[in-house]
Structures are given as structure tokens and as C-alpha cells.
């Protein structure tokens, strides 16, 4: 279960990329399309030639062919062997590596049970649903006791509900297998759910490698900040538990009621997408609703960022250009702000 070191890797868009993935760590590679995320996986697997060095536990792997690297790979298109049953797909790696029939059967039973696909063993891939195929592909990739697992957009083709469920299971499985895993994902929220650390890649270079919390609360570069949507970071001055699972925090001149199980929040990050602005007073209870003054309007491609001041506290809201143009908003004007609690991120205070 090795530590992976990528040193000065150049290939296609990758430009002198350096990255270390610790032993048994689950690392998410996140970045925009064309950033080189999948190329990084192909380099680790040895499926493409590259300039630079790849080391597993300090051992140079550059001349080791893919079939001797011990790297399992879950491709985005899954590529289940259509001429083999589910059981035979899972057994493939074990068979080519010369495992005995008894050991193969035990491993198939173990993995099909862990991934809840026991009843599918004799079926062919063509007859499986998207989620079932995904589970079979995961079982096949980890079956031959691989030391490293690479996953390219493991849940991209699934509906959000199935994807969320599968991500949770995958997270448990990866920890149980004690395997070093690197996965590519375009959705930052998905990455956060299972990754120990996130590496943000942009134009073939690593912008920042850090825990999900650090990425959100301390984006290392402007690119990272832009990528995560330039969240509003609020420091909590006071935190009061209202009832079980509900707290009221004070940050500057703002008071917010949040769903939260602990008792001390240090900071919260709110995406500018989740801050709604309106010229008129919104209907409904006055929770998390504020009067504010527009202090700055910045047009950015097809989006408009509107900075508002709630007392001395400053927030940025982001809305589509079309919606903005329909509203009567100008600098210095009074408006209403509603904070949606959809994707809040917290840091507990020490």
C-alpha cells in the first residue's frame, strides 16, 4: 500500500507536475475539464509514456509496465468485459495472476457481498443497470489485491442519489482495504465526501494540495479560490445552541441560524451561489434574511458578483447576468439578502 511520488511529470497538458500521495491516503484530483486529471492517473498506471519520475515507496516505476505495477484502475466508461459474466469479470485479474480456484471463489464472494452484488454473479454486463455496473467494476479493480486504486470519475454517470450512496460505500471500502487511492472527480462536494486530501489541478499544474477544509477556508491561490467559487468566509464571534441540531451564530453584524450537531463553530464558508438578493422584501420567516447595501458590482463572463454590506459584514452574491439585468440593482442601493443553507461548510473552533 505504497506512497506515490510524482516528480516533474510532463505529458500532454501536464507541465512539470509534482505530487505526493501518502500511503493509504485517499486523494481526490479536482480541476476543470482539460486540466490533466485523467492524464495523471494514466501516468501512475503506466498506460502512457511520460517525462519525469514515478516512485512507489521510493522505488522508480518508470520502466515497469502497467501489468507489473499493481495498480487497479476504474475507468470512467467502466469497460466491463462483455464476453464474461460478473463473476468472471471480477475473477479476471486473479486468474491472470495465477491465483488458485478456491482463493478466487473466496475473493469473489467477499467482494460481491461487500458491494451487494451477490445476486448478479452469473449475469452479463449488458443486463446490468448503471449502478450495478459501477459496483462490478469496483470489485474487479480491487479483486487482485492491488496496492493502489485509481478511479476516473467513479460516479459521474450515475444519478445524484445513487452517486451519493455509492460514494459513501466506496469511502468505507477504500478505508477497509487500506489501499492508496487516487480519484478524479469534477464535483468538489463529491471529493469532500471521501477524500483525505484534495489536489486542485489547473492547466497541468498542481495549484494546491490540502484537506477539504483547508481548501475551502484557506484557498492557496486565486485559481483555487475561483475554482471553489470564491466562498464567503465568516468568522463566528459567538455560537449559541438553540436546540438539538440547531445553533445561532454571530459574525460581525450578522446573526444566522444553522443546522449543526456540535456546539462551537469557528468559521463557515457560504458559496456566493447560495446568497440570494432581491429588491423587495422576501416572504416567509425572517430567519437568515437581512437588509443590506450594495457596495460593488463586478461583471465576470456571464455572471455578476454583487458585494453587499450587512452592517460592517461584507458578503458576495453571484447571479446570472440575465437575472441581474432584470433586477433594479445599483451601487449604494438598499436590497434584501437571503442566505440559503444548502452547502454550508464549517470549521469547528478549537
Amino acid at each position: 500500500m505504497p506512497r506515490i511520488e510524482l516528480r516533474n511529470i510532463s505529458k500532454h497538458v501536464l507541465n512539470d507536475l509534482n505530487l505526493i500521495i501518502e500511503d493509504k491516503e485517499v486523494m481526490a484530483l479536482v480541476g476543470p475539464n482539460g486540466a490533466g486529471k485523467s492524464t495523471v492517473l494514466n501516468v501512475i498506471a503506466g498506460l502512457i509514456s511520460y517525462d519525469g519520475e514515478v516512485r512507489f515507496d521510493g522505488r522508480k516505476m518508470d520502466r515497469t509496465p502497467p501489468h507489473r505495477r499493481g495498480v487497479g484502475y476504474l475507468f470512467q466508461d467502466l469497460a466491463l468485459f462483455p464476453h464474461l459474466t460478473v463473476a468472471a469479470n471480477i475473477a479476471y485479474g486473479l486468474k491472470v495472476q495465477g491465483y488458485e480456484a478456491g482463493a478466487i471463489a473466496t475473493r469473489i464472494d467477499e467482494l460481491t457481498k461487500a458491494l451487494h452484488i451477490e445476486r448478479l454473479k452469473e449475469r452479463y454486463p449488458q443486463s446490468l443497470s448503471g449502478g450495478e455496473k459501477q459496483r462490478v467494476a469496483i470489485a474487479r479493480a480491487v479483486a487482485p489485491f492491488q496496492k493502489i486504486l485509481l478511479l476516473d470519475e467513479p460516479t459521474a454517470s450515475l444519478d445524484p442519489q445513487t452517486a451519493k450512496y455509492l460514494r459513501a460505500e466506496l469511502g468505507v471500502l477504500l478505508k477497509r482495504l487500506e489501499i492508496t487511492a487516487v480519484f478524479v472527480i469534477h464535483d468538489l462536494l463529491g471529493a469532500e465526501e471521501i477524500a483525505d486530501r484534495i489536489a486542485i489541478i489547473h492547466k497541468g499544474r498542481i495549484e494546491q494540495v490540502a484537506s477539504p477544509e483547508t481548501i475551502f477556508f484557506h484557498p492557496g491561490t486565486d485559481v483555487v479560490s475561483e475554482f471553489i467559487g470564491r466562498p464567503n468566509i465568516l468568522t463566528c464571534d459567538q455560537c449559541r445552541v438553540l436546540s438539538s441540531g440547531l445553533v445561532e451564530i454571530t459574525s460581525g453584524d450578522m446573526r444566522m441560524v444553522l443546522p449543526y450537531e456540535g456546539d462551537m463553530i469557528g468559521k463557515i464558508a457560504i458559496s456566493p451561489h447560495d446568497i440570494y438578493i432581491s429588491n423587495t422584501k422576501p416572504p416567509g420567516p425572517a430567519i437568515n434574511r437581512y437588509q443590506a447595501v450594495v457596495t460593488e458590482i463586478v461583471r465576470h463572463r456571464s455572471l455578476v458578483r454583487v458585494r453587499v454590506a450587512i452592517g460592517k459584514t461584507s458578503l458576495v452574491a453571484e447571479l446570472a447576468e440575465g437575472i441581474f439585468d432584470e433586477m433594479d440593482i445599483a451601487e449604494g442601493r438598499e436590497i434584501y439578502v437571503v442566505v440559503k443553507l444548502r452547502r454550508l461548510r464549517y470549521v469547528e473552533s478549537m
Binding site: L47, P65, H67, G70, G72, P82, Y92, P144
Partner: protein, 262 residues
């Protein structure tokens, strides 16, 4: 809407025309068909020899062609290497050059010092059964490679990548994934190659001649019967060749009609 219907009818009329063209040619054979003569010609030692020689040479040439075609097709389908474009183009040589010209090329080769050396120190090819095999092999190997390459192009290379990451060497990935997935197409290609080899005439007669009971394959026998104005005998031999050919094509249709893996 009317235009659409008219266009559909016109297209179908063309296809029926083509059918009647071939059907008319085949039916005309029966004008010269005589029951007793059919059996007599079929069971004659000379026809049986031609039939046996044709079946053996076509089968052997197909086996050798497919043996060469599978790895060549795989290489051309999966790898880009120096000269791959040239090889890909030259595969069409048997399709663009007439079989007689191909036969002439073989004969010319055996008149060069290298060819003479092979004939004197190795195998006598010209005017022997080996000549038939070589002529059939040369005319079919390019087509076999092209057909199998088309089948392998259809199979995503991704399957092999998966196999490699699971511990299979490139050769093992080929034998356990690519080959089984293209098996049906390879069999269909082999049948078409066999049909082509069985019907091969131009190159065969140029290289191996037309010696009765020695190098007379079925197509050569048809030509010889026709040359001696034996139309009834020719009709019988053509019927035999047609029966084998159509039977094979039907077999290919059955294979191709089955649901594909990919």
C-alpha cells in the same frame, strides 16, 4: 410524403433488378442441366480431384492467411508505427491489381536470382500445388488482414488497458480479451477468405498452370471445360462452386446476424 414513397419504391426496384440479374444468370445454368450428366460429371475422377484439390488448397491458404492476418491486423489496428500507412495501403493490392497480374508478379519473382534459389534449393513452386497455395495466399492475405482489422477496430483498446491494470501482459490481454471479443468476426472473415481462395483463378492458372489431375482446381476445371466447348459439364461445375459459395455466405450471414458483444 409522395416523394418519400416514390424514392423508397425506386430504391427497392433497383435492388430487385440486381437480384434478377444474378438469379437469371444462375437459372440459365439449368437450361443445360441434365440429371444423369450431373452425377456422371460430379463423380468423375477428374472432377473429384479438382474438388478435393480446391478444398484442400483453399483451406490451407486460408489457415495461413488468417495466421498472418490476425497479428498484422492487430498491429495495424492498435499501433502507429513507421510504415504502418504504407502497409495499410499495400493490403489493397489484391483488390486493385488483377489476379492475373498478381500471378505474373509471382512468376516474375521466381525468375529472379532469389526466386530461382528458392526453387532450386527449396520448394518447387511454379506449376505445382505449392504454386496454387502461394497464389491463393497472396490474393487472400491482404483481404483477410483488412477484414480482421475492421473487426478489431470495433473493439475499444480500453478493454486491453483494463486487462493490463489487472495484471495481464499485453499478449495475455490480447488472447483473453481482444481475441475472444473478435472471434465471431474472425470466423466470418475466414469464411469469406476461404470463399475467395476457392474461387481464385487468374493467379492460380498463371503460377500453377492447368494440368489435369495435378494443378487443376475447380475454377481452372471450369475454364478448361468451357475452352473445350463442354457447356453441360461447365454448368455442373459452376453449380457445385455456386452451392459451396452460397452455403458459405449464408453461414457468414448467420454469424453476422447474431447480437454482438460490443
Amino acid at each position: 410524403m409522395d416523394r418519400e414513397v416514390n424514392f423508397k419504391r425506386l430504391a427497392i426496384a433497383f435492388s430487385i433488378c440486381v437480384f434478377f440479374l444474378y438469379a437469371g444468370l444462375v437459372l440459365s445454368l439449368f437450361h443445360f442441366y441434365k440429371g444423369p450428366l450431373f452425377l456422371e460429371t460430379l463423380c468423375s475422377a477428374r472432377t473429384l480431384f479438382s474438388l478435393k484439390l480446391s478444398l484442400i488448397t483453399a483451406t490451407t491458404a486460408t489457415a495461413v492467411s488468417v495466421f498472418f492476418a490476425i497479428p498484422s491486423a492487430y498491429a495495424l489496428s492498435r499501433y502507429r508505427f513507421f510504415g504502418s500507412q504504407v502497409i495499410d495501403t499495400i493490403l489493397e493490392l489484391p483488390m486493385i491489381v488483377s489476379p492475373v497480374a498478381l500471378g505474373a508478379l509471382i512468376l516474375i519473382f521466381f525468375n529472379t536470382p532469389a526466386g530461382t534459389f528458392i526453387q532450386e534449393r527449396g520448394v518447387q513452386v511454379v506449376f505445382t500445388v505449392y504454386g496454387i497455395l502461394l497464389a491463393q495466399f497472396i490474393t487472400t492475405v491482404g483481404i483477410a488482414t483488412r477484414l480482421i482489422k475492421a473487426a478489431m477496430d470495433e473493439i475499444p483498446a480500453r478493454y486491453e488497458d483494463v486487462a493490463k491494470t489487472l495484471g495481464a501482459s499485453p499478449a495475455k490481454a490480447f488472447f483473453t480479451v481482444t481475441l475472444p471479443l473478435s472471434r465471431r468476426s474472425i470466423i466470418a472473415s475466414a469464411i469469406l477468405t476461404w470463399a475467395k481462395a476457392l474461387g481464385e483463378f487468374g493467379a492460380t492458372i498463371t503460377v500453377a498452370g492447368s494440368m489435369a489431375m495435378k494443378t487443376e482446381t475447380l475454377p481452372v476445371a471450369i475454364f478448361m471445360r468451357l475452352a473445350s466447348a463442354d457447356i453441360e459439364g461447365t454448368a455442373v461445375l459452376v453449380l457445385i462452386l455456386l452451392a459451396i459459395g452460397l452455403g458459405l455466405l449464408y453461414g457468414v450471414r448467420l454469424l453476422a446476424g447474431r447480437p454482438s458483444y460490443v
